[in-house]
């Protein structure tokens, strides 16, 4: 119930005039400075709402008189980042792969770029850090199918393997299976021999029989006399003990690969839209993973 505001005799303050059952409320106004700052913040908010995007509408929103947009800001930042990169990128375009590896700053730039491009495009098959997977070569080891020099790596990335690009790396492991060429016993002996090349055969007699099969069926043409492989045709080194199709029972895996070989495919990244500079970055990165020659 409202009564008249009066001066309180105890505190010397005025009351608000509100009274409930004889209890009156003292009027204790907010400090003036606080009130003023409060008003200023309100004014600030009004000005802000006019200058910047603020109120939702039916078909859109109030865009503000300054034309600010956080996307424009991001675009600007991207432009700035591009401009910052441009110095190195132009250097990278002109430099040869050997030059890039020798120039420490350029190398660091290329490695950083290469890592992100690798993780976006290559890691799906080759794994983070290039560790590979079943059927997808490990790029960090020292065994290469198509060569581990900078130029070899660049060619493989640019044109790919066994795809429709005319420059793509091409080769085919013939199928020896189905009883037409080799029967199961011969396949077993051959696999023992292949295992023995990396000193992992447990049956020396079978391996000795397999050696003749290996020599007489044209295996040496691509894989070499001692199974050292041939990178010109992507023939794996069988003596390295590193298997593209690694399984618990490696002998069975070898037999399967001789009988009905899987032919791995890699896309051409030049066709997929990576430009020359990006492929250089990728090349340098892959080369740095540990196996580069």
């Amino acid at each position: 119930m409202a009564t008249k505001a009066e001066k309180d005799s105890v505190s010397g303050q005025f009351t608000t005039g509100h009274e409930w059952d004889g209890i009156k409320e003292l009027n204790t106004p907010l400090p003036r400075w606080w009130v003023w700052i409060f008003f200023i913040t309100i004014a600030w908010a009004v000005v802000y709402c006019i200058l910047y995007p603020s109120w939702p509408g039916i078909n859109g929103y109030w865009a503000g008189t300054k034309g600010y947009h956080s996307r424009t800001e991001v675009a600007q930042e991207l432009e700035q980042a591009k401009a910052a990169k441009a110095v190195y990128l132009s250097k990278l375009k002109d430099a040869s792969l050997d030059d890039i590896v020798k120039d420490k700053d350029l190398l660091n730039f290329a490695l950083a770029g290469g890592r992100s491009v690798f993780n976006e495009n290559c890691a799906a098959c080759h794994g983070f850090g290039g560790v590979g997977a079943y059927g997808f070569p490990n790029l960090a080891d020292d065994v290469w199918l198509w060569g581990g020099s900078l130029d070899d790596v660049r060619t493989t990335i640019s044109f790919g393997i066994r795809n429709s690009n005319p420059n793509s790396r091409q080769s085919e492991m013939p199928a020896y299976g189905g009883g037409d060429v080799l029967n199961d016993a011969q396949l077993n002996d051959l696999a023992e021999y292949v295992l023995s090349l990396s000193k992992s055969s447990k049956d020396a007699v079978a391996a000795a029989r397999g050696q003749a099969i290996f020599a007489n069926n044209g295996c040496t043409t691509c894989h070499g006399e001692a199974g050292e492989g041939n990178q010109a045709v992507g023939a794996p080194a069988l003596s390295a003990g590193v298997w593209l199709y690694k399984e618990k029972d490696q002998k069975a895996a070898i037999i399967s690969q001789v009988k009905a070989p899987k032919q791995g495919v890699m896309p051409s990244w030049a066709d997929r839209g990576l430009d020359d500079a990006t492929i250089k970055e990728l090349t340098v990165y892959v080369h740095s993973l540990g196996g580069g020659k």
Binding site: N138, D141, D142, K199, G241, V242, S288, G290, G291
Partner: protein, 489 residues
């Protein structure tokens, strides 16, 4: 302890007390005033001259004696150079500083507040300038009350200009410790210094202007935590500014028939305090020390000087207001005139012992400071790589911290892993038993390296190995344990 400036609501007063501006009177006499000048000259002298001191560290290194190089991540103090890893030296200095404060407070009360604190020193300087322009206490009070006139305007404006100039210098003095002061000064004047330099200067200078020019004693009374916990630092043996009420009361002015009579007669039947209020007028926080020790007293002892000069004039013994302990005061009030030393307490020696211990530890660690260190990171993607010939390879990133000026030569060997060999990217050679790694002076050398070992060297999924890095210049060896991962078996 009564708190004069903050009356409590229980006293019946309002919980809000309007700040009464203090107009400290300047009395250029007395030992404590001289001590204050000395403290001002020494502290501001170090503050403004410190960055300009030079120290030759050879080519390529900063020539500034005291420098905190934040972008370069180094701190220099004459012959000492600290890396970010050694920030514990800063901790040590802070511990010593805190203990020194405890120690000196236990002995001498708030001498830090009264003489050496930034707030006190700058306020002292600002008040002195205020007096140059606006005159002594009484004139300043009148000037503030007077309406605006040309006279008031130029006095106020002159004061403000001087204050602002000093504040700018205060800001510059601070940032001078964080950058090459010669280049910094040039860049500041030509407007080419970094935003952070101007911002730091604005913050420090602005604080100096506001706190020393306007807030003044309110900083000590309301903002600074030290006055709140000083009661924990003191005991009855601490020397504090104290009024000998047993001698001074009942107080009263000397007037009328009293004048001209010899002091012994005049003061036979009354207290020695002549209520001249000099002690109140000179007080920078505007309190009356005769109310006893209080929160707002910063222990500057200017009232001691003021009272002594008055006592001299009326021919009474000095020391009615004096630097004394409350223990002594109680004894004197009871008639015992001997005084006990504040040193005769165990806490004083405990503080001293801890300070000494920390100082010795710091000195020892400085003298035996490592000149190099190494951080090793095992590569995780991939954890290991199987390479040809039934071998396993692990990658590591090596960071060698060479903390001396000249180039360092380090030799790395692997221990604890059978037939392990190394290769380092950027260093010629493959399958090496030892690798020599050069690192430039005063820098961190980063190397990516591979350790290769036959699969047979591992008994399980992983093995322990130890890297031993020998400094070929000093012969010192640092060993770091790490792991070598291999395939599941």
């Amino acid at each position: 302890m009564s708190v004069q400036n903050t009356p409590s609501p229980t006293d019946g007063g309002s919980p809000y007390a309007a700040t009464k501006k203090a107009y400290p009177r300047f009395l250029n006499a007395g030992a404590f005033r001289r001590l204050k000048w000395l403290a001002l000259i020494v502290s501001l002298g170090f503050y403004w001259i410190g960055p300009w001191l030079r120290w030759d560290r050879g080519p390529g290194a900063p020539g500034q004696a005291i420098l905190v190089d934040l972008p370069g991540r180094r701190a220099y103090c004459f012959g000492i150079e600290i890396w970010p890893q050694e920030v514990y030296y800063l901790t040590g200095i802070l511990i010593i500083a805190a203990l020194l404060l405890f120690f000196i407070s236990a002995l001498l009360g708030r001498v830090w507040c009264g003489f050496a604190c930034w707030q006190t020193v700058f306020t002292d300087l600002f008040v002195w300038i205020e007096r140059l322009f606006e005159g002594e206490r009484a004139q300043r009070i009148l000037l503030d009350k007077a309406p605006w006139s040309a006279n008031k305007l130029w006095r106020k404006a002159g004061k403000q200009i001087c204050w602002i100039l000093i504040s700018i210098l205060a800001g510059f003095g601070f940032i001078g410790f964080f950058d090459d002061v010669h280049l910094l000064l040039r860049d500041l004047l030509t407007g080419e210094a970094g935003v952070s330099a101007y911002a730091a200067m604005a913050v420090i200078g602005g604080c100096c202007y506001l706190l020393a020019g306007f807030a003044r004693e309110d900083v000590c009374i309301y903002m600074c935590p030290y006055s709140r916990f000083q009661s924990a630092m003191f005991d009855e043996h601490s020397m504090i500014v104290s009024y000998e009420s047993w001698r001074g009361e009942p107080r009263g002015p000397v007037r009328g028939a009293g004048r001209g009579r010899p002091a012994e007669q005049l003061f036979a039947e009354r207290g020695h305090c002549i209520d001249c209020r000099m002690c109140v007028q000179v007080c920078p926080t505007g309190i009356d020390i005769r109310d006893g020790s209080q929160l707002a007293c910063i222990g500057c002892a200017l009232c001691v000087d003021a009272c002594n000069s008055m006592m001299d004039r009326v021919g009474l013994p000095r020391g009615l207001v004096s630097y004394d302990s409350s223990f002594n005061q109680q004894a004197r009030a009871a008639g015992d005139m001997s005084s006990s030393s504040p040193m005769a307490r165990p806490r004083v020696y405990i503080y001293l012992a801890i300070i000494g211990l920390v100082a010795i530890l710091m000195a020892y660690s400085l003298m035996t400071r490592k000149t190099f260190d190494v951080n090793i990171l095992h590569e995780r993607a991939p954890m290991y790589v199987e390479v040809s010939g039934g071998r396993v390879r692990n990658g590591y990133t090596f960071k060698i911290l060479n903390m001396v000026r000249g180039p360092g030569h380090f030799r790395l060997t692997v221990e604890g892993l059978n037939k392990a060999t190394m290769s380092v990217i950027g260093v010629d050679g493959d399958q090496m038993e030892t690798v020599d790694l050069p690192v430039d002076g005063d820098s961190v050398g980063t190397f990516r390296m591979f350790v290769t070992a036959p699969n047979a060297s591992l008994s399980g999924k992983k093995a322990d190995l130890t890297f031993a890095l020998t400094n070929l210049d000093t012969g010192k060896v640092v060993r770091r344990d790490n792991l070598f991962a291999g395939p599941e078996r």
